[in-house]
């Protein structure tokens, strides 16, 4: 008696699950946008482009967006060779890359890198030379910069980070041929959030994060007496900032255009791009 009851119960559960599975069947597919879009380039833009591709394909079941990494330069080369439709880039076009003016630039996000310190540290502004000295280990004690007598704890991003790439380039003067290395004792962290946690918990720490991560737990330092704000960065006074781009050959059409429009849409900018960067509209309006 008990056994059969048990069996019946299991059967019921199984059927319920199957029914639930059936419930997930798609409704009539939205066929408004069809076709293939091939995207490649910067690994910094990659997460955004991938997220956009997933959401875009959910809305347009006929569309097929394929996103790959490879780096900004490789993406631009492939775009010109007509291998891909969109080249993601974390840098501007260089002289010689767009001599015939055929490449169209779509700015999709704005990134400001802020240098942060623990709020207890009475350092308000650093010059670029001082920043370089601190991060490369030439200066190891805050005393030398007019602060307290304590060892400087440098916190940086991991190898793969686009933020680190930009910081190394602008703040430390690194080039791909001649990289500049931060002090070996620097703490490497895999995310903006972890850097903020460490800097907030360590009184003598200094690090850098994307602007969106600056909050009350840490204090953003001025660079050459310029504060990292959207205004200052948009007008070029604060130098550690950059646009993220999507390049196309000529004016985009068809699914390529729809995809870029989706990336630039208010909803996607607000919900995905703003997680780590600044919505591009806020900057371009200024």
């Amino acid at each position: 008696m008990k056994k059969s009851l048990c069996l019946a119960l299991m059967l019921a559960v199984a059927i319920a699950f199957m029914a639930a599975g059936c419930g997930g069947e798609p409704g009539p597919p939205d066929t408004s946008i069809r076709g293939e879009v091939k995207v490649a380039g910067s690994t910094t833009v990659l997460p955004i482009a991938q997220e956009a591709a997933v959401e875009f394909m959910e809305k347009n079941r006929g569309a097929d967006v394929e996103v790959q990494g490879g780096g900004s330069s490789a993406g631009i080369t492939q775009l010109k060779e007509e291998v891909i439709d969109i080249a993601n880039s974390s840098r501007e076009l260089q002289p010689g890359e767009n001599d015939d003016g055929s490449i169209v630039d779509h700015k999709i996000a704005f990134d400001i890198i802020a240098i942060i310190v623990n709020p207890s540290l009475k350092i308000k502004s650093l010059t670029r030379a001082e920043v370089k000295a601190v991060f490369t280990g030439e200066v190891t004690n805050w005393k030398e910069l007019g602060g307290p007598d304590s060892e400087i704890v440098v916190v940086i991003r991991d190898q793969a980070s686009g933020t680190r790439e930009v910081f190394d380039k602008i703040a430390l003067g690194a080039t791909p041929e001649k990289p500049v290395w931060c002090v070996p004792s620097a703490i490497e962290s895999a995310s903006n959030g972890v850097i903020r946690e460490i800097v907030a918990a360590t009184p003598s720490a200094i690090g850098y994060v994307s602007y969106g991560y600056v909050n009350r737990m840490v204090r953003a330092v001025q660079l050459d007496r310029v504060a990292p704000t959207i205004d200052n960065a948009a007008e070029g006074r604060y130098v550690m900032a950059r646009f993220l781009h999507m390049f196309t050959r000529g004016k985009p059409e068809g699914p390529t255009r729809s995809y870029i429009d989706f990336v630039l849409s208010d909803e996607f900018q607000r919900e995905v791009v703003a997680q780590e960067y600044i919505e591009v509209r806020k900057v371009l309006e200024k």
Binding site: S150, D158, A160, P179, W181, P184, A186, E188, T202
Partner: protein, 306 residues
Amino acid sequence: MSTGAPEAAVKTRAWAGAFTDRENYVKLVMLTCASVAILAIILIFLFIFRESLPAIRDLGVRNLFFSTDWRPNVSDPTAGNYGMLTFIWGTLLTTFGAMLLSVPLGIGAAVFIDQVAPDRMARVVRRGIELLAGIPSVVIGWFGLILLVPAIARATGTSGYGVAAASLVLVVMALPTITTLSAETLKSLPIELKEASVAMGATRWQTIYKVLLPSAREGLLIAVILGMGRAIGETMAVQMVIGNARAFALSPFARTSTLTTRIVTDTGEASGIFRSALFAQALVLLLIAMVLIILIRVISRKREPA
């Protein structure tokens, strides 16, 4: 009654026959399980070896295993330097530090459980230590991050991250292994040993120190080695408190990395020879683990005839 016996015999034989069939079946299942495990080990080893081969070939053993210069290059992997000695040293140093504390603690706790404590208290202590083994490493690492690191920072005036914090976290991870295995070993000693010792007029402490612990030496050693294996492989908890730096650690409060934490930190975008160098680190880890296992084998074989 008289007919009952042969009937029962027949029944037993039939049942035994069924049992052997089933036994064969079970044997087959077990064999499959075992082969899967062995196959997995062989495949893992071959795979890691194959993937680390490019780094070994292009960089040479000296630049890869005996250099402290770790400066990988993401965009052009061949332009980087991939010496992993810093991280091998980091692994050995944190493990040694952890053993320094967890071996006396673990064996002490085992003696307490098996020899000193009254039954009920021994049971409570044992359960408590077993519970410790079940705590996920990320939780222990989190405790290290919010309690241990600030405490070390206050006490030493350093950042608090570093080898010492990592070792202390590893003590918590290795302690359950060492304690439970040591307690089992002590429990398996023949009671006559203790009785003889006490009969000779030895005190309780003399009995433990001069008779029981020396007799259990091999078993205790195995417990320590297994605890060490746990410490060497731990990644998450260590990564949270060791400071993830690429500097060679010269002080217990220096920030550095271990093999496991470096693999996790750098795997993200690694390609080409950079990726291969990370696999070479995994290979070193695997070799350390194998050395430990062989040590256990040798020690337990030595123990058998006794």
